[in-house]
Symmetry: C2
Subunit: 348 residues, 2 copies
C-alpha cells in the first residue's frame, strides 16, 4: 500500500504575509494536466462524475434530486468532497512557536453541473444553470457559521488548459480559513472608494457601463454582464446584480442570474470557439467587521498563456480592448434575444 500523503498545510509567506496551500498528496491524483498536453480525456464509461458511478466518488454531501436516495442515480446536480482535497477537514491546532505553518483547515467540494458528461456549461441551459447556482448559494450558506472559516470561494476550471483535471463539467468550492488575497484587495478598494466618494465603486461602474453601453454584453431586469474597463485578459466578463448586494448567497431567486450566465457562456462559446475558461464567484467574507462590497461573478477565458509579467509581477497584459470584446459578444448568439444599442435593457 502506498504511504498516505501528508495532510495539506498552510504556509505563510514571510515577505508578503500571504498564505500558500501546500497539498503534497495532490501530486498523486490521476489526470493532473501538464502544459501543452491535454489531460487524458476520461470518456463517459470511465468518468466518476457520471450518473451511475456514484460509488466511485466520496459520499455525497447533497444533491438536487426529484426522489429520495443518496449516492445513487436520479440527481440533477451533485456535491461531494474532492477526493484529492487541498484543504483538511480538521480544526487547526496551535500554531507551532516561531513557525509559519498550520493545518490547511477547510472544505474542498466538487459540484457536478449535470449528469451528462458531454454537456458543456453553455449547453445545459438556464434551467440547469439555475439549479447549479442555487447549489452554490446553499453550500455557501452551509458554511456561514462555521468558525474559524472566513471565506467560501466557488469557481470553475473548464477544460484541461483551464486547469480542469476531469472533463465532466463541474465546479469547485473552497471553504477557507482566510480571505483570498484578490478578494482582500477588492475589499480594500471598495473601502477606499467609499471613504473618498461616499458610494460603492461597483454600483458606480454599473451605472456608467449602462449609460455608455459600450462594454455591456447582455442584461436582464436585475443583472448585467459587461467586460470590465480594466479587463486583465481578453474577453473577461463580469456578471453583477444591478442593486447593491454584498452577498451572492442572499439571493432567494437565481433564475434571472442563471439565464444571464447561460447566455454569456453561450456567447463566449460562439465567439471564441469553445475556449478553456475559469470563473470565480467573489462574494462577501463569512465574517469579520463590516466592509463595503458588491458581489461579482468573474469569467475569464484562457485564450492566451499567462506571461511572466503577470505571474511574477502581478502586472496583467491584455491584448483585446474590452470595448471590442463586448461588441463581439453582443453580436454573438446567446440564450437570450440580442438587444440593440438603441434599445439598452433598463430597470423596469
Amino acid at each position: 500500500m502506498p504511504e498516505a500523503p501528508a495532510p495539506p498545510v498552510l504556509r505563510r509567506d514571510p515577505v508578503t504575509g500571504e498564505w500558500v496551500i501546500l497539498a503534497a498528496g495532490r501530486s498523486r491524483r490521476p489526470h493532473a494536466p501538464v502544459p501543452g498536453e491535454p489531460a487524458a480525456g476520461t470518456q463517459e464509461p470511465d468518468c466518476p462524475f457520471c450518473e451511475g458511478r456514484e460509488q466511485e466518488t466520496p459520499p455525497e454531501v447533497c444533491a438536487c434530486r426529484d426522489g429520495d436516495g443518496c449516492d445513487c442515480p436520479g440527481w440533477k446536480v451533485r456535491v461531494f468532497p474532492n477526493k484529492y482535497p487541498i484543504l483538511a477537514n480538521r480544526l487547526p491546532e496551535e500554531e507551532a512557536a516561531g513557525g509559519g505553518e498550520r493545518p490547511a483547515y477547510g472544505y474542498h467540494e466538487v459540484i457536478v453541473d449535470s449528469p451528462f458528461h458531454n454537456l458543456a456549461p453553455w449547453q445545459v441551459g438556464p434551467g440547469q444553470t439555475c439549479l447549479m447556482l442555487e447549489t452554490y448559494r446553499d453550500r455557501i450558506r452551509e458554511y456561514r457559521d462555521r468558525d474559524p472559516l472566513r471565506y467560501v470561494l466557488v469557481m470553475r476550471n473548464h477544460k484541461a488548459a483551464g486547469a480542469a483535471s476531469l472533463d465532466h463539467p463541474h465546479s469547485q468550492l473552497f471553504a477557507l480559513p482566510f480571505v483570498p488575497p484578490v478578494v482582500d484587495a477588492e475589499l480594500a478598494g471598495f473601502e477606499r472608494h467609499v471613504s473618498r466618494e461616499g458610494a460603492c465603486v461597483l454600483c458606480e461602474m454599473i451605472a456608467s457601463e449602462e449609460r455608455e453601453h459600450v462594454r455591456v454584453v447582455a442584461a436582464s431586469e436585475n443583472f448585467v454582464a459587461f467586460c470590465p474597463y480594466a479587463s486583465r485578459v481578453p474577453f473577461e466578463t463580469w456578471l453583477v446584480p444591478r442593486a447593491h448586494q454584498p452577498r451572492f448567497e442572499d439571493n432567494e431567486s437565481l433564475e434571472e442570474a442563471a439565464e444571464l450566465l447561460a447566455d454569456v457562456l453561450m456567447r463566449l462559446r460562439n465567439e471564441l470557439g469553445d475556449p478553456p475558461f475559469n470563473y470565480w464567484l467573489h462574494t462577501y467574507p463569512l465574517r469579520g467587521e463590516f466592509r463595503p462590497y458588491h458581489w461579482q461573478l468573474e469569467i475569464r477565458p484562457r485564450i492566451t498563456v499567462p506571461g511572466g509579467l503577470e505571474l511574477g509581477a502581478g502586472v496583467a497584459v491584455n491584448t483585446v480592448p474590452p470595448e471590442e470584446a463586448a461588441a463581439a459578444l453582443r453580436g454573438a448568439p446567446g440564450w437570450m434575444p440580442a438587444r440593440s444599442r438603441q434599445d439598452p435593457p433598463r430597470r423596469s
Copy 2:
C-alpha cells in the same frame, strides 16, 4: 496596408487600483502561443534573434561585442526594443479628467542571451550567463534617472508553455512607470518586518536556511540558492546575495552570481527534464522614499497549469514541498560540484 495598432495604454482597475497594460497591437504579433498548442517552432533559418539576421529586429540598443559595429554579427549578448512592445516610449500626457487611462509610458526590450539558437539557458554556461547578468545590470542602470519611470523588471519566459513567443533563448526588460503589485507587496512585507523585528526579513530567512540546510539548493561564497519555505509552485528557487543588498544593479562583479544561476538552471533541467520556466529579477524601485528591501532572482518552473484558485483568488496551491524539491535539486548534476549536508558552504 493594415491599420496601425492603437498605442498601448495603462488602465487603472477601479476596484483594486492596480494598473493593467492594454496593448491591443500585440495580438497581431506572430507566433503568439495558445494553450495546449506549442508556438510554431522558429527554426534557425527563420529566427530574427540569430546572428546574421540583425536587420530583422529593431535597431540594437547595445550589445556585448569584441570589435566595433552595430546591428551586425560578432556579438555575444544583444539588446533591442521589442518589436511588439507593451509599453510606448513617450511621456504620458495629462490624465483625461475623470478617466483612468493614460499612455503606458516605458521601455520594453529584448535581451538575447547568446547568438546560438539552440543553446538553452542551462547550456550557455557561467561565462555567457555572466555577460547576460551584466547586461541586465547595465540596462537597469541606464533607466535609473529617467523620470517618471519607477521600476525596471527583467524576466524570462522560457519555452512556449512558459509564454515565450520565440524559441531563441532571450530575456525581456520592462521599464515601468509604476512599481509592480507583487514587488509593492514585498516592499510592504519588508517594512512590516523591520518595524516589528528590527531586521531584514530576507536576511533572516537566508541565515535560517543556511543553518537548517534543508531547502538550500546550492551556494557560493556570497550567494545562496534555496527553495523558499512558502514556495508557490513546485521547484520554485530563489537566488539571493547573502549580504543585505537592496539593488541587484549595485553589483560590480556578477561572476559568482552567474556561476550559481547557471548551476541552478542546469539542476532544474536535469531534475525536471527541460521544463518551461520563468524567472524574475526583483530589485529595488528606481526612486521613491527609502524602504527596506533585499533583491532576489525568483525562478519558477511551469510543470503545472496555474489553476483558478491561483489566478482568480491569488491563492497558490503547491503540490511539491520545497524540502523535497531542494533535496532533489541538490542531488541533480549542476555546473558546480555537489556539496554534502555535512559540508554546507559558509561565508569565508
